[in-house]
Symmetry: C2
Subunit: 296 residues, 2 copies
């Protein structure tokens, strides 16, 4: 069975015409062959949306949450609504075709399609995950980087698409290079007015006493699918959970800080801007075992 699987959707949205009249809803395709037009707005403008869904022991995790977020991103970009029943079916079929294993992940991508055509392009890509065991055990050092926007920009200026998971992620990659130049592994974004936001590919979670916290509400950050599950886990242990408008001081004074994301799961933050900090190795390991085994 293959290590990676690609399925192309014939009609990613019921609100737009199919690519081929009467064709199957989706078809498997060769990952090694080119599949996207140079005129597709994904390739020319980063004009589309995506989700990255973790697959633990063959089960897509936080699946409905991911699909709902995908639909929400589409609304924020004025894209036609994804046909979630079809996307669900294509994701499950791609997983079934993939070589089994403990950990895999699936990316769903919907673009605005070829400019002027009016039909979105959609594909599902599934692959075995890289081995994250080391980073989950060792954690990451992070730097705080200015995102440039005020913390309330999603309310004042929704056209900036903050909180949508778009294909325009050049900055989310650029900040990793800046982190590496500073000798760090990862990034936590801070708003121009000094509030903690999120990582470029993760949410921030921190513990203060018996409470697990995440920045919010109303920050124009991604509604974290893994963060929600981390809170469920914490609540199952009797911890309280909550949202808080946090500054870097809140992180410095926290008992532990994590970056949480769908595929890498939870990684401890071991240092912020070069200042080492406490980690909770046992909690992190138990949390990741729980997240891996999760079905919802």
């Amino acid at each position: 069975m293959p290590h990676e699987v690609l399925a192309l959707l014939n009609q990613p949205s019921a609100d737009a015409a199919p690519h081929t009249e009467g064709a199957a809803p989706f078809a498997f395709a060769d990952v090694a062959a080119p599949q996207v037009s140079v005129l597709d707005l994904a390739a020319t403008r980063g004009d589309g949306i995506f989700e990255g869904i973790s697959v633990g022991y063959g089960k897509p995790q936080a699946f409905e949450h991911h699909l709902q977020r995908f639909a929400r991103s589409a609304r924020m970009l004025d894209l036609p609504a994804p046909d979630l029943a079809l996307w669900r079916q294509a994701v499950l079929a791609a997983i079934e075709k993939l070589e089994p294993g403990d950990e895999a992940w699936v990316k769903t991508v919907m673009t605005r399609g070829v400019e002027g055509d009016g039909r979105p392009t959609g594909w599902v890509y599934a692959t075995r995950s890289a081995d994250f065991s080391r980073v989950r055990a060792d954690g990451v050092s992070v730097v705080l980087l200015d995102r440039g926007y005020r913390h309330d920009v999603a309310q004042t200026s929704p056209w900036l698409l903050q909180g949508a998971k778009t294909l325009s992620y050049a900055v989310n990659r650029s900040v990793f290079r800046e982190a590496n130049r500073r000798g760090a592994d990862d990034v936590i974004f801070v708003s121009s007015d000094g509030y903690v936001l999120e990582g470029p590919t993760s949410n921030v979670v921190y513990r203060r006493g018996n409470t697990l916290l995440t920045p919010g509400p109303g920050l124009g950050i991604l509604d974290g699918t893994t963060q929600v599950n981390v809170f469920r886990y914490a609540e199952s242990l009797g911890l309280t959970t909550g949202l808080e408008l946090a500054t870097p001081v809140h992180l410095a004074e926290a008992d532990a800080v994590w970056l949480v994301s769908s595929v890498r799961l939870a990684v401890a933050v071991t240092a912020i801007d070069g200042i080492a900090r406490e980690v909770d190795t046992e909690f992190t390991a138990d949390l990741n075992a729980w997240l891996k085994a999760l079905e919802q």
Copy 2:
């Protein structure tokens, strides 16, 4: 002869390996067929750069300026340096193959390539231009929209890539939809601290008395290839030119305002946020005739 031409580069940068050892420097390809991998970082992350070059009467305009800006964008994104001699050759070959006409344009795209591969992807796409005669004659109504960033963000936070021409342009498209919702045609971005920046696909130029002005310096906006030529034209008429940190009041009080860009050239701004304003029809027409005939 074809209405559109696509050329794929075998080795977009001399600092990275070719895609096929010993192959021709570039090859023409079928525009209608898919040419980009779903794993290319252009399609998944908007991680790449582009230029759009106007071709007037068969001559690429501001060609060296575009190529230098392409190289500058590559540096800002830590991409390997584009082999400008090869890109120049591919652009000229694509134009030569294109059906002749008064106006055409060429897009150059270089992406970071397939994730983990290390070789950038590069293509040149040439096509006949749409007919812009009406918008050049009638002008556009614009709305002022917050870009969310302070005017000095390129200096304080270079990882935000302001001033690079990247493939992460979802916001530059989203703002057109916001303008349309407000009954306008186009957009002028304003910094979060109130300075006029640029359009999503253009630079702003305005006239006050005998002086033509453009916002600057140090605003993290694109170094406008057409704006430079507009200034050359103005100077040939005896007007003075300059840069100015401008607020919306400067635009409201200007004698005329234009959005200038490579392919659409100069269009008069006929209204800002619903308030109609003076236009200079004759100057605009003469300027566009001069820009169309330009060879450098």
